[in-house]
């Protein structure tokens, strides 16, 4: 008996094992804090690199559109305007399309198999690299829409948005390729939030005699609204930061124009175009532009997260 007890007493964990346990925990802790370090690092590095330009131009950088490496004058208004216009207009087209598709997938218009196929098709679209979309936009979409743009200019030329002769690569094409890129994001998030609406709500609405679309518009969409909104904001963040497809099709011109049919610029396409060859204070100005882009996308993303937390469905 005595022997057995000592045996039991000796069955303590070895010191080395305890140490491994502690080391393991702390390694995991350090690795998880890498995220915070990288995030802060990105913000600090981009900020400090842009400091020279920031102290020289201040906030004037945001509202002037001169971008002249020869005279060393920099202002990013055209790029900032382009970023905002392309992302907001593309979102405006994407929201009804994406939500409509999500409704189609979640309602029972066609058998489940077809809906699942369409759903995964749309999600596969998200997996296609944006550079490939850009290639496709240059060689397929641009010729396809050329006649349509001429028509737009001829009949709606009095609207400032269509006031110039369409050029081969322009902002409107960038908006259209952004729609293709955003559609999967909005659709899949809208579908998930529609699926989360409890069946009870739908049955109750049907029970008091609402038609299918009355139910969708007055019950299901409002219940799923916060999730859809968050998805839309995430898509907005993606649209503002999207680089390759936009750079390849927007035409990359810093000349400001209200018209969507003329070449434009976004912050990310400016970075992609000029960063490799820039030197001197141009680099600092590019970092300033990058900083603006980062702040824009951070604000949108944080707002989206806040929205999800604040208004997440509570049924």
């Amino acid at each position: 008996m005595e022997e057995k007890l000592t045996l039991f007493k000796n069955r303590k964990r070895f010191g080395i094992e305890k140490n491994i346990d502690i080391i393991f925990k702390n390694t995991a802790l350090v690795l998880s804090s890498f995220v915070a370090i990288i995030l802060l690092g990105i913000i600090l590095v981009v900020f400090f690199q842009s400091f020279e330009s920031f102290s020289r131009y201040g906030l004037k950088f945001l509202v002037t559109s001169e971008w002249n490496p020869v005279k060393d004058e920099y202002g990013a208004f055209t790029a900032i305007y382009g970023t905002l216009v392309t992302s907001f207009l593309s979102l405006l087209i994407t929201i009804p399309l994406g939500v409509g598709t999500a409704i189609f997938i979640t309602e029972d218009f066609v058998p489940k198999v077809f809906r699942e196929i369409i759903g995964s098709f749309v999600e596969l679209l998200a997996a296609i690299p944006s550079v490939v979309l850009g290639l496709w936009a240059i060689f397929v979409m641009e010729p396809f829409f050329r006649a349509f743009f001429v028509f737009l200019h001829n009949f709606f030329g009095w609207i400032p948005l269509f006031s110039t002769e369409p050029t081969g690569r322009n902002s409107l094409l960038a908006i259209l390729i952004l729609v293709v890129m955003l559609l999967p994001i909005v659709t899949s998030i809208a579908r998930d939030s529609l699926n989360q609406v409890p069946k009870k709500l739908r049955n109750a609405a049907y029970g008091i005699g609402a038609s299918r679309w009355k139910t969708i518009f007055s019950v299901i969409l409002p219940a799923a609204l916060s999730g859809i909104m968050a998805g839309v904001l995430l898509a907005l963040g993606r649209a503002m930061g999207e680089t390759m497809a936009v750079t390849m099709i927007i035409g990359n011109s810093n000349a400001f124009s209200w018209s969507l049919l003329s070449p434009g610029y976004t912050i990310s396409s400016m970075l992609a175009n000029q960063f490799g060859e820039a030197d001197g204070s141009q680099v600092s100005s590019l970092f300033y532009a990058a900083f603006v882009l980062m702040i824009l996308s951070l604000v949108v993303n944080i707002f989206a997260q806040w929205l999800v937390k604040k208004f997440s469905l509570k049924y």
Partner: protein
């Protein structure tokens, strides 16, 4: 009496029909680009595929009719993605383990989870700008400026949030009973994690990680001023410290060339890139569906 039957002309029924067809149209518009895109890439890119494509260097753009092959870019993409995975997977899985297994929902873990979401939303070109400022312009990597190594690091920043998230969520799905049982028979925490929880979440974590790698393989923006581009074969370890080509940057560069031969090469590269990314996606989707089915039993 009539009100018991479905009446086509009732305004609510007409409205319903209208909106139903509207959503059908939306769905059609949503899948049309994918169908066009995939068929176009398969036809246009697939017709360019030759054995030489995989073995030759691309010729510098010019008047030559023959554009050469994409071997350096193909190998470069594999190398850069591997570097990114080597950095992002250990860091991400480790971080995910901390979040799921050790943290108790305190301020720190909430901050990290928030940071993961924010980092996932950082535009990919910013990752390139960051690595440029940190590594390329400072020549910190043994004096080399643009390098495959720097490109891999930029990609790893984009992969990291995906890996942490899938690890965190995969581990959270493991039932607590397994942990209690393991700890109850005297296993230490790290044994429990390495021998019990991590293996049982392996499949979902692996699926997420593989999808993250596939996404990183197609990223271009972080590479255009970190890894740059190269026309030459990658022959040795030392090439890691020099400019390195990749499929994505090759597509970008050659799509903008005015020469037909280069454009065709860009299509061929797209074919290979899209085919591999889509097959990885479809495969992991099937695997995930299969896992779900077996779990229910």
């Amino acid at each position: 009496m009539n009100s018991l039957y479905y009446q086509k002309r009732l305004s609510r029924n007409i409205g319903d029909k209208f909106f139903t067809s509207l959503s059908v149209i939306c769905a059609l518009i949503a899948i049309l680009p994918l169908i066009f895109l995939v068929t176009y890439i398969l036809i246009k890119g697939g017709s360019q595929i030759t054995p030489e494509l995989f073995t030759l260097e691309p010729n510098p753009p010019g008047d030559d009719l023959d554009a050469g092959g994409i071997n350096p870019a193909l190998v470069g993409t594999l190398i850069i993605t591997t570097i990114a995975s080597i950095i992002a997977i250990p860091v991400g899985v480790g971080g995910g383990i901390y979040l799921a297994e050790y943290s108790k929902g305190g301020a720190f873990s909430r901050f990290i989870r928030f940071g993961v979401n924010v980092l996932a939303g950082v535009p990919s070109i910013i990752a390139g700008v960051f690595i440029y400022a940190l590594i390329v312009s400072t020549k910190i990597l043994f004096g080399s400026m643009y390098s495959g190594l720097a490109g891999g690091m930029a990609l790893s920043i984009l992969m990291l949030p995906t890996v942490i998230k899938t690890t965190d969520e995969g581990l959270k799905l493991v039932p607590n009973e397994l942990r209690y049982a393991s700890l109850g028979i005297g296993a230490s925490m790290y044994t429990t994690i390495l021998k019990v929880t991590l293996p049982s979440a392996f499949r979902s974590i692996a699926t997420g990680v593989v999808l993250g790698i596939a996404r990183a393989a197609g990223e271009t923006a972080p590479l255009i001023f970190t890894a740059l581009f190269s026309y030459y074969y990658i022959i040795g370890f030392g090439d890691l410290f020099y400019e390195m080509g990749s499929l994505a940057v090759l597509i970008y560069n050659f799509a903008l060339e005015p020469y037909d031969a280069q454009n065709k090469l860009a299509w061929a590269a797209s074919f290979i890139l899209v085919l591999s990314i889509l097959s990885v996606n479809i495969f992991s989707r099937i695997l995930a569906a299969f896992t779900e089915k077996t779990k229910r039993v």
